[in-house]
Symmetry: C2
Subunit: 445 residues, 2 copies
């Protein structure tokens, strides 16, 4: 059953050809799914080598960050070059920021001068800023040109640009002076000068703007693309609405993960050990705060020994505070992220949340008080009154903490979602146990 | 100091004129902020009456749903008509869906026949489907026309459509046969027929598609607008990328709110009483599960009475399980929402999460075991071993529940985020208390 080396090579070639054929009809999203489902990078590289060249870059960009970096690290400079070649400048810059500086330099030096300049500029910017999101490909014209000339140039060059919707007008210093919607060109007088037909008030994004703010501008102005300018007003790129969809997803995931005590890099494709390590950091933080709560309880050992009903009921006090606080916290964190809670209405929002916690506090204090009264009748009305007071106190503390923690973090320029869940439950656990066991020690012993 | 009625009217008129002037320079986002900050609807209506007519609709659409409905309910049919007049069909349909059926009918009957048909069609669709998102305004041409004719018609009608990027080609039955990017028209031969220059493979959305899936298509294809077709392939509308940004925000907010035990209608502009009521429902649900945990604890009253250290330590077991489970839950809910966790990789993801919980379980079992051993030395190694075993068990239960709850809910076609947080903490509380107190009863008494 020996297979000669030659035969083996033939079989491999035939396999490769079959794979190539299968892959050629797929969209990059499907290709990315196949790569994610693959066992390891060796298998992934085999599949990549069978993919159509122009699909490789877009597919790699859809992989989770870690997997992407790992695959890229196994490609050589000429392979990276052929990946980058088929990408828009913003995506090319993203890929080049993920490979070693040495390879990036090699690839960039091989590009033609204009592409090189574009990509080098993009690589200077923070990935989460407008500069990191924008692409250099756009269609710009001098604002003293006539419409006729614009059309002529557009016929010649426009076809190379994807999603061409707006034409950007600049003055002799390359400063953005206006924006023309493509279809206005079809309706205007061909002798009109660009500055006459361009919209000078079209919104623009500053290159250093944070991506969250950029997303907010897209929501506000309902445009399909916004021009990006540097601090001198010079046009440096454009951002299209479809890129913003990714940003919005990313920011929401980050907030959800941080609220749950997860690293925003927690990723399904990561090795188990690394995920366990990342989550372990947050669990350790939670352990410290849980021990703090236990220390509070241990101060009342004597009370607990005499009235074991307290041990039965105390988790209810803590748990109700934790949930009520998380409700407020989530509303606040999301409201801040969406720009609905600002410095100017923060006070009113805080008051509102405390009012809600007063109302719910009163309701649940009554309800739980009655339950405790009938569950443990041996203590008469006292136990019911004590737990009612503790619930009331803890729900108010929960409302206050749920609102104040994110507001304070924001004032300190820290992401309001970060660690606020753990800080909150520390407050509600400590206040809950302290109030309940403390009142019981005073009134029941 | 009497002011005659006439003078009073003059003052009011002057005030109104001043307000009008102030408001005229503002963007709808700013106008919406002013309305949100207003005390009540009377004040809001005063401001609205001073706003430029063409801004009113867009501004109302940016208000929180409840406030929008409340303001709309105070406008009469002719006022609603002037609001709707300045809006795109999709937005007009949204407004008309929020007013009484009677007023909506009155307004619609006053529209010209084409607008009426467009809006009536839009109002048929579920707000969260492609049909609810799409707008009727688009530019369509017959696929047997010549490019010359398209340009001629476009010159005549194109100016009325905002964000005109694509031209849709249909056959004689109005079925979509292809899409032309506006700028290809500039480069083509004027004698070419439309079907020659149109892209027949351009992605399209089915009118019943859920908005979450539509958002995924935008991410997948990176287009600035997608055509919407009915089940016969007839072109019925288009959705632009900027509308999808709102959808993505909305879906993320819904998931975050549901994870935190909040109604997805929880809103900063709601009356306190209504918010308290909505949150109260979730808090009641939580109370029931908290009582369940207390019932578990009450089974071990005798044990707790003898070993009060158990009451001190038991919240640590429950809390670590709760946090670890929430981590897994959040990763799963988000992964499902983003389409990263699908039926095909669900088993692998489940295994992965359980592996992570085994690793963290082992680590924290050791750590907490040692802490308990030295905190309460009276019980020798036994208490440390017991809490270690309980932590280990609870963290595995947390991983399993955190992964299985959202997967099961999804299989049952229920939103995986809904109530899963409360179900999860019930599991971790019950398992935690049962394991810890149960083991202690067996080995320490």
């Amino acid at each position: 059953m020996d297979i000669s080396e030659r035969d083996q090579q033939d079989i491999l070639d035939a396999e490769h050809a079959a794979l190539e054929k299968q892959l050629s009809s797929l969209h990059t999203t499907e290709l990315a799914e196949i790569l994610m489902a693959s066992k390891n990078d060796t298998e992934r590289l085999k599949i990549i080598s069978a993919m159509p060249d122009e699909q490789v870059g877009e597919t790699l960009l859809e992989l989770p960050e870690r997997m992407q970096e790992s695959v890229l690290s196994k490609l050589n400079a000429s392979e990276i070059e052929s990946v980058v070649e088929h990408l828009d400048s913003d995506d090319a810059a993203d890929i080049l920021q993920s490979v070693s500086a040495e390879i990036a330099e090699q690839v960039i030096s091989g590009l033609d001068p204009e592409d090189r300049r574009g990509i080098e500029t993009l690589m200077l910017h923070d990935e989460e800023s407008a500069g990191g999101l924008m692409q250099a490909e756009l269609f710009k014209v001098r604002d003293d040109w006539k419409a006729r000339k614009v059309l002529k140039v557009l016929r010649r060059w426009g076809q190379t640009i994807e999603n061409l919707n707006y034409i950007y007008a600049v003055n002799q210093h390359d400063r953005l002076t206006g924006v023309i919607q493509l279809h206005t060109l079809l309706f205007c007088n061909l002798d009109d000068e660009v500055w006459r037909i361009a919209d000078a008030d079209f919104p623009r994004v500053s290159v250093d703007e944070d991506q969250e703010e950029v997303a907010r501008m897209f929501e506000k102005y309902d445009k399909l693309a916004l021009p990006v300018v540097d601090k001198h007003g010079v046009l440096v790129g454009r951002i299209t609405a479809d890129d913003i969809i990714d940003v919005v997803h990313e920011e929401a995931t980050e907030d959800m993960f941080r609220l749950a005590g997860l690293s925003d890099q927690d990723d399904l494709s990561e090795p188990v050990g690394i995920t366990a390590y990342r989550r372990g950091i947050w669990l350790t933080f939670n352990l410290i705060t849980a021990i703090l709560a236990s220390v509070v309880i241990s101060q009342f050992e004597a009370t607990l020994q005499q009235i074991v009903a307290l041990a039965v009921l105390m988790p209810i006090v803590a748990s109700m505070g934790g949930i009520a606080g998380t409700q407020t916290l989530t509303v606040m964190v999301r409201g801040i992220a969406l720009g609905r809670i600002t410095f100017s209405n923060a006070k009113r929002t805080l008051l509102r949340e405390v009012s809600v916690s007063l109302v719910t506090g009163l309701g649940f204090a009554l309800l739980i008080g009655v339950i405790a009264r009938f569950w443990f009748p041996a203590y008469g009305n006292t136990l019911g009154l004590i737990i009612a007071a503790a619930i009331m106190l803890n729900l108010i503390a929960a409302g206050l903490a749920g609102a104040l923690i994110p507001l304070t973090l924001q004032r300190l320029d820290i992401d309001p979602a970060l660690a606020s869940g753990t800080i909150l439950t520390t407050v509600t656990d400590v206040v809950g146990f302290l109030a309940f066991l403390g009142l019981a020690t005073v009134f029941l012993l």
